[in-house]
């Protein structure tokens, strides 16, 4: 790596091959980006003042055009000041170009937790089968982070990214006080995982488990019997929190919720007194 001082490197940005070739401009079903505006924003990345550069990054994030990936990647690899780092990472997340995965993964190992958290969030937005393995591994590694916010973001991101292979790791994280893991368990798990999560009832705060159940109950691909089973598990520990949870669930039911599940939830709501 050579001459990566930020002030010097921005001069190289104008020669971005991606921009020059315009290889992905306006693609991917996104609204077409004005080429001139895009070029101007990339040009502004060379500005000597940070405010202008920051503004340019913001524009590029709004454009969400993959042609900005390479200039932003080079910007990040030049080691910019904090604000620009944060903005550039978020911009890459907005663009969601698989080509940015490598640099974002590098930033999941940054010394500042905030940077790691932003990198994890941005990586999670990239949905491309070509980089799925890389993304999944990065998100799983982020679950091991010593910073609880990074872990929390990673746990949720795994669910959003649909990494069903991470189920054991999510349960381990949940056991190790990463409550956000319950959400992903609820998003990705099957009936066995729902049972396993229910096993934490009485051992962990109900407020940490309910988000997981909420995900299970709102899924259309989750069997009704398993949903009813969850409701029965909640009935066993009937209390105001359970009642509030089920009332809210019934107040905004997911599309296609079966009558069977709805009836069972209503029954449990009825038998739980308002105050215990």
């Amino acid at each position: 790596m050579r001459l990566l001082s930020f002030g010097i490197l921005v001069g190289l940005l104008a020669t971005s091959p991606a921009l020059a070739q315009g290889r992905r401009g306006g693609g991917g079903g996104r609204p077409a980006v004005d080429r001139a505006a895009l070029e101007a924003a990339i040009e502004e990345l060379k500005a000597p003042d940070m405010a202008t550069v920051l503004n340019a990054i913001t524009k590029l994030a709004e454009f969400a055009d993959p042609r900005a990936t390479a200039p932003l990647t080079r910007l990040l690899r030049a080691g910019p000041p904090d604000e620009l780092t944060h903005a550039a990472i978020q911009a890459l997340g907005a663009i969601s170009d698989p080509d940015s995965v490598d640099v974002l993964i590098e930033y999941t190992r940054h010394r500042r937790p905030r940077v790691r958290r932003l990198a994890v969030q941005s990586i999670a937005q990239i949905r491309d089968p070509r980089v799925n393995d890389k993304v999944n591994e990065a998100l799983r590694n982020a679950l091991r982070d010593s910073n609880d916010r990074v872990r929390g973001v990673a746990a949720i991101a795994i669910g959003e990214h649909g990494d069903r292979g991470a189920m054991d790791l999510l349960f381990l994280a949940f056991e190790r006080n990463v409550p956000e893991a319950a959400i992903s368990i609820g998003k990705l798990g099957g009936t066995a995982e729902a049972e396993r999560l229910a096993g934490f009832l009485g051992r962990r705060q109900l407020s940490e488990i309910l988000p997981g159940f909420n995900e299970f109950l709102r899924r259309s691909d989750f069997p009704d019997d398993a949903k009813v089973n969850i409701i029965h598990k909640l009935e066993e520990i009937a209390g105001p929190d359970v009642k509030r949870f089920l009332v809210n669930f019934l107040a905004s039911p997911p599309p296609g919720l079966s009558q069977k599940v709805k009836d069972e939830a209503q029954r449990v709501v009825r038998i739980i007194p308002d105050a215990i």
Partner: protein, 876 residues
């Protein structure tokens, strides 16, 4: 007032006759003019002491119990329901067990057990516990008693008002024969040969004739305190931290001239007493003070001219642990871990007997530390005292003897939090063992989640002192902090330092991984970076550049840019023009952290100075060559400073450093070692100090300030790293070391360097210096260097002082005998020695990178050895 009747007069007259017949001293007892303990009595008179010695019985071995029953007995206090008991050890039967309130530990005499009960000292008959007599303490504290065949001698007193009372009581009748009361505080007395030995005010011991009650001799310490005196068949002994034999030399009043033994161990937590303090008021319950102390027994010396210990060992009780120390070397011989608290210990020729809280009598073999005999007393015990001389039950050892490493580890890993200071102390002992696995053990102690922080700190310090086991450190680098797996990286700061000291170049890959690991604490990152610079090579250039690129403008390093600075140094060390341009760009960048910019710029300035110096040296060399002489500069200035030269400079300025260390020791009494790593410029200025322990900013600042005032000798290279270790836990040898065996490792036997100052420069090893050769090998970097008194001595001949560069050839400095390039500076004590309690002695050695001073006539160019840290950039 009523007039006495005739009958009364008759009774009085008859009584007077009777008194005369009985011996009036016992009935009138008590009213004496205190001629003893007077201020005018001359102390330390040789003829007085000789009279006492002449009256003492000849030394004899203790072969049988001293009590009249002739049976081995243990007298003790019950725990729970208060009471006193006497247990016959030979039969395993309780002689008696009496419920009563007790306010003192029991004193076992030849015919009774003496205890304080309420406001009385009560004598309980040995056979059945019946009360023989009682003496009113009149509100005073009971300090203890001694006895002979005629009297029991009791000392009472009031500590606050310094009132002391000595009472001689007929041992059978309890009648007070005489008593003396003064304004001096008396300690527990001793009796032998018709004499009473009374310690007072912790400085004097008066010897009284029991019949005349007159003081016939007095010894007074002029360089010690006297905390106890006791009499045994082997002789009369006294002392405080050490043990004196009362003999014809006692009149000197000094340690050196008396027959004296002082245990060599230092730094034991809790400052354990060698013998029970005679001035401490005995308590009637379990007492932490009694659970941290030594137990010893004087060995029989027919000539009575020495102080030797039974088994040649001291036995330290630390709650549940019994530690045997070699009396000569102070090395730990074994550690016995008992399941319960130990309430009393007695050292006998057949072994070490103890009584534990649940009431078990156990004997531990003195040579192995294995329990080999056990007898239950049957009641919970609060305190006990032994009279079991000659008792030797058959030995039935239980268990096997573990290695010293295993024994130490068992204690270190013990979860009893009362033992934490002792566990810290033992970690330092463990670190002195030569087995490579010890390095792994210490890392494991550090990594244990249950280890208290204080223990982790001790482990860090211990690790820093290791010279063996690099492979275990390298293996430990595979462990990273992982929240999910609940793993913790090793203490990378100290691991990195140790790897450098061990020259473990195989560690580079693992170190890179920890450099890039965001979990590596910032304070450790500098050491990791430094280790990479020290152990790595040019293949690391891209790693250094990537890291500098990523973080040169990042706030992650805004508070502490040291790691980045070190990596920039690494680029200068291994890189060329391309890397120089890379650094130029960093300096030019608007966003680069100011401290990093300043550091790079500073290095540039140093490089320029070195270039100029090299040019000057070359010019002088050319002139000398032209004139047919040897370059003055080449002959005088070394390429870098040797470890000895660094050590000399440090020890010569010990007075600057001592206050910092002493202040730190007050804040951290268990401090065992201080490690300083710093950069030396070729003008002799130190900078960039890092200190272990690193958790005390005040300490670091103090040392930095002190270091900045030290003028080191100049040298030719641009700069060099130097390391200096202050070992506070010495001079105690490592555990298991046989008497007379030199300690392993690079250190030579420590020597005090500054009276009262526990500073020990030990074997610093420059980061790129090879492991020091064994002691005695010329050039070894570990040599005792006594610290010179204030003011510091001038630079040695031939070594240029600050700012002075001779221009005429000078002969090289004459090396002192034995070690080239090092020497021992004669020391004149600048302060009286007595270290504070628990403050160990001070010794050490100093070192730096191996000197590369060219020989006479060697062509000059001061080009750095590329394998060494002191580095000069290639010419641009």
């Amino acid at each position: 007032m009523a007039r006495p009747t005739v009958m009364a007069w008759r009774v009085a007259a008859a009584s007077a006759v009777l008194l005369a017949a009985l011996g009036c001293e016992e009935l009138f007892g008590g009213v004496m003019e205190p001629t003893a303990f007077g201020n005018l009595f001359a102390d330390n008179r040789e003829e007085d002491v000789a009279k006492v010695v002449a009256r003492l019985p000849a030394p004899a071995p203790a072969t049988a119990p001293a009590n009249r029953l002739g049976r081995p007995l243990v007298a003790g206090l019950r725990y729970g329901t208060p009471g006193v008991f006497v247990f016959d050890v030979s039969t395993g039967t309780m002689l008696w067990n009496k419920e009563m309130s007790v306010a003192s530990r029991p004193v076992l005499t030849d015919r009774a057990v003496l205890v304080q009960s309420g406001s009385d000292v009560v004598s309980l008959r040995l056979e059945d516990g019946s009360e023989m007599w009682r003496i009113e303490t009149e509100g005073m504290s009971f300090f203890g008693a001694a006895h002979d065949e005629k009297y029991a001698y009791l000392t009472l007193g009031v500590t606050v008002s310094h009132v002391g009372r000595l009472i001689a009581v007929n041992a059978d009748s309890g009648w007070t024969s005489w008593k003396i009361q003064t304004t001096k505080l008396f300690g527990r007395p001793a009796a032998a040969g018709g004499l009473v030995f009374v310690p007072w005010e912790r400085q004097d011991i008066s010897v009284l004739d029991r019949e005349s009650q007159e003081e016939i001799a007095r010894i007074r310490s002029v360089d010690d305190v006297y905390n106890f005196v006791f009499a045994r068949p082997q002789g009369v002994f006294y002392g405080s931290k050490g043990l004196y034999r009362f003999d014809g030399k006692s009149f000197h009043g000094t340690q050196q001239d008396a027959t004296y033994y002082r245990p060599p161990m230092q730094g034991i937590p809790g400052d354990p007493e060698l013998w029970a303090d005679a001035f401490a008021e005995p308590t009637g319950g379990r007492n932490a003070r009694e659970k941290i102390r030594f137990f010893v027994a004087p060995a029989f010396d027919p000539a009575g001219q020495s102080v030797t210990l039974e088994h040649d060992k001291l036995f330290l009780l630390y709650f549940r642990f019994l530690v045997a120390y070699d009396a000569a070397s102070g090395a730990i011989q074994w550690i016995y871990r008992h399941p319960d608290d130990i309430e009393a210990v007695s050292v006998q020729p057949s072994g070490v007997f103890l009584v534990d809280s649940p009431g078990n009598l156990v004997r531990v073999a003195a040579d192995t530390g294995l329990p080999d005999w056990r007898l239950p007393i049957g009641i919970d015990v609060a305190a006990a005292t032994f009279d079991i001389a000659g008792f030797s039950p058959p030995s039935q050892p239980v268990g096997t003897v573990g290695t010293m490493r295993v024994q130490l580890l068992q204690v270190i890993l013990d979860q009893d939090n009362r033992l934490l200071p002792f566990r810290q102390y033992l970690i330092a002992k463990l670190a002195q063992l030569p087995e490579p696995e010890v390095t792994r053990d210490i890392l494991d102690v550090y990594a244990q989640r249950t280890s208290p922080q204080a223990l982790k700190d001790a482990a860090r310090a211990a690790l820093a002192s290791r010279a063996q086991g690099a492979e275990h450190l390298i293996g430990a680098l595979d462990t990273h902090t992982d929240y999910l797996m609940n793993t913790q990286a090793p203490p990378m700061g100290v691991v990195a330092q140790s790897l450098v000291a061990m020259q473990a170049r195989a560690a580079v890959t693992g170190l890179v991984a920890h450099l890039l690991d965001p979990e590596t604490p910032l304070e450790d990152l500098q050491e990791v970076a430094q280790a990479l610079v020290d152990l790595g090579d040019a293949s690391l250039i891209s790693t250094f550049e990537s890291y500098l690129t990523l973080y040169h403008a990042d706030s992650a390093f805004s508070q502490n840019p040291n790691a980045l600075n070190v990596l920039a140094d690494g680029l200068l060390k291994y890189g060329g023009e391309e890397e120089r341009r890379f650094l130029d760009n960093l300096v030019a960048s608007t966003y680069t952290l100011p401290a990093l910019k300043a550091h790079i710029q500073k290095r540039y300035d140093e490089i320029e100075q070195a270039r100029l110096a090299a040019e000057e040296a070359a010019r002088l060399a050319a002139e000398a060559a032209a004139a047919g002489t040897v370059s003055a500069v080449q002959e005088v200035l070394p390429q870098t400073l040797s470890r000895e030269q660094v050590g000399q400079a440090m020890t010569a300025n010990a007075a600057l450093i001592a206050p910092c260390v002493q202040a730190k020791m007050q804040r951290s009494p268990t401090l065992s070692q201080v490690r300083m790593v710093f950069r030396l410029s070729n003008t002799g200025q130190a900078s960039d100090l890092s200190v272990l322990p690193s958790d005390d900013a005040e300490f670091t600042a103090c040392l930095s300030e002190a270091l900045s005032q030290i003028q080191f000798p100049r040298f030719l290279a641009l700069s060099q790293r130097a390391q200096f270790t202050i070992d506070i836990a010495t001079p105690e040898p490592p555990p298991g070391t046989a008497p007379g065996t030199p300690p392993p490792g690079p250190g030579t036997p420590p020597t005090p360097i500054l009276p009262g100052t526990p500073i020990v420069p030990t074997g610093p090893v420059g980061p790129v210096a090879p492991p020091p050769p064994p002691p005695g090998v010329p050039g070894a970097g570990t040599t005792s260097v006594p610290v010179a008194p204030l003011p510091p001595p001038p630079p040695p001949p031939g070594v240029p002082g600050a700012g002075t560069v001779p221009v005429t050839p000078l002969p090289p400095p004459p090396p002192p005998p034995g070690v080239p390039g090092t020497g021992t500076v004669p020391v004149t004590p600048v302060a009286p020695p007595p270290p504070p309690p628990g403050v160990p002695g001070a010794t050490g050695t100093g070192a730096a990178t191996t000197p590369t001073t060219p020989g006479a006539g060697t062509p000059p160019p001061p080009v750095a050895n590329p394998d060494e840290y002191p580095d000069v950039l290639p010419p641009e």
